[in-house]
Amino acid sequence: MEINKILKIIVFLLLSFNSNAEEEIIFPVATVFESTSDGFFFGALISSFNLIFNFDAALFNVVITSLKVSFSAVFISSFIAVPLGIIVALNKFIGKNILMICLNTLMALPTVVIGLIMYGVLNRQGLLGDIDLLYTQTAIVIGLCILIIPVILNLTISAVYSSDPRLAERCTLLGATQIQKILIYINEVRFALMTGIVTGYGRAIGEVGIAMMVGGNIEGYTRTMTTAIALETSKGSFEFALSLGVMLLFIALLINILLHYFQQK
């Protein structure tokens, strides 16, 4: 019975690809799902595909906001964390062990705690209240950077530690400066570093606490996929929430396919 329903969904999806893009595609949900209790999820799933394939403006606005803040955060965080991670891994200094413990702790930092602290700092009565950053995309980006810098930093350190120890010796023997060493390591262990960055990206795009608390979930401005999912579900608009969930999964899949492709190359 279930298999039949899934097959019907696939047929409708295929039909939808062949249909004229100008026209709105409407899936005859009722014909596929006879009983409401049985068809709630699949019905919603088909409606969500409807929204996606019809390029629903509200939906894609949310997706673009999400991509914008998460990519910005990942770019800034990688720019800081990758070179810093290589420096930390390659050098011995007092307090390195304490730093490593702190970084490991920060890896498990709840997003809502970051959001809470940032709210405390950025609200009108807060330490940085005057700079008017609360409920802006910039605030979300800063929050996401705080969230993922420890992740990328830690994974960069691990990547360097697990690289060939002769590489560091070779760099030293060829007279590489600290900056040249960083560039050589970025080139030599780029796939391990890319995995760290993708992990950081996964954390950024999937978090909800920071975006909700310092972004304020403002429609068309700071509403990200995760905050929209939470809001739309509570509003009862499950189809919209589910379409965002599908988009979120699709983006994660796409990024991992790209990573896999580069690793194979």
């Binding site: 002769r166 060829l174 007279g175 400066t177």
Partner: protein, 331 residues
């Protein structure tokens, strides 16, 4: 002759255990110097110190009569090129690997091209230029690593076990190259090996390194084993050797080749070690004759021309090899 390196009371520890202890050494400019020793004797550690990769835990190093300090180590490193036993090659082509050192030292494009062409022709590796580094054989990788260093034109060329895992032709090529670099470009060459004959062939100064201790003696007959208490002899696995004291911790014994007595018949003497063997090789110089004899272990004896003529020795001849237990050094 002017000394290039002077090492005084060098100590290097691994995990608080002294690995190189109170080492004193002088290496002369434009000479070929070899360190011979078994695996784990500290050869690589010493080369890491000589290439300024590692800083000793105590003692002082003078290079060109300037004392090495942590703040001037980078200037010293530029003078030295170090090819490790298993050199790391960067991702990309052989050309990029050779070019990287020049790039790091800010050499401009035209000069880079010119220098790389010269080194490729010197090492006869023009055919490898577009090959990916990870597709090279051990011998090819070692040549590329040597090119990577030689292109930087260092004063000193240091090589760790350069002849290991190479086929016969590659060994000959590398030997010729070392001699060429030394003679034509006045390079000081330092290399390690566990093969005494290889060292004798190339080096003008040979040092033996055993358990982190340096000996200026040329330990041709160095055998690893352990003291067998039940029979009271040192067991090399292939031969039992009487030593003058029972040392439970003995790991190596060395027999001075000049202390070995050869005879056609077994000698009736107080010498506790007497083995029957066969002559495998004979080589001579102005002062004496070296004989390689198989007594279960390969042993080298050095005798005078007079003794050689009197005994009428020849290749594959059976001889008796005798030496006193007091002529054995124990480590």
């Amino acid at each position: 002759m002017k000394n290039l390196y002077k090492l005084k009371n060098i100590v290097f520890n691994y995990d608080n255990n002294s690995f190189i202890n109170d080492l004193n050494l002088e290496i002369f400019r434009s000479e070929i110097t070899s360190f011979v020793g078994p695996n784990g004797s500290g050869k690589t550690t010493l080369l890491n110190i000589l290439s300024f990769l590692n800083f000793p835990h105590s003692g002082s190093i003078f290079f060109n009569n300037i004392e090495l300090k942590k703040n001037n180590i980078k200037i010293f490193r530029n003078k030295v090129g170090y090819v490790q036993q298993n050199p790391y090659l960067f991702r990309g082509t052989v050309y990029k690997n050779i070019e990287i050192g020049l790039k790091l030292n800010n050499v401009n494009f035209e000069k880079r091209v010119c220098k790389i062409e010269k080194v490729l022709s010197l090492l006869k590796i023009e055919h490898l230029i577009n090959r990916l580094a990870n597709s090279l054989s051990t011998g090819e990788a070692r040549k590329v690593a040597l090119a990577q260093i030689t292109v930087l034109d260092p004063d000193v060329l240091i090589m760790d076990e350069p002849f290991s895992n190479l086929d016969k032709n590659s060994v000959i090529e590398l030997e010729e190259l070392i001699i060429f670099l030394n003679k034509e470009f006045n390079k000081t060459v330092i290399f390690t090996t566990h093969d005494q004959i290889q060292a004798q062939k190339l080096a003008s100064s040979i040092f033996s390194l055993i358990k982190g201790r340096l000996f200026s003696n040329d330990f041709v007959n160095l055998f690893k084993g352990k003291f067998n208490e039940s029979i009271g002899k040192f067991d090399t696995g292939k031969q039992l050797i009487s030593i003058y004291k029972s040392t439970k911790n003995a790991e190596y014994v060395a027999i001075d080749p000049k202390q070995i007595v050869l005879s056609v018949e077994k000698l009736d003497s107080s010498m506790q070690n007497s083995f029957h063997g066969r002559i495998l090789g004979i080589s001579e110089n102005d002062f004496n004759i070296k004989l390689n004899i198989d007594i279960g272990e390969n042993i080298q004896a050095i005798i005078t021309h007079q003794a050689f003529n009197e005994l009428k020795l020849s290749l594959n001849m059976n001889v008796w090899v005798s030496f006193k237990s007091t002529s054995i050094m124990i480590f």
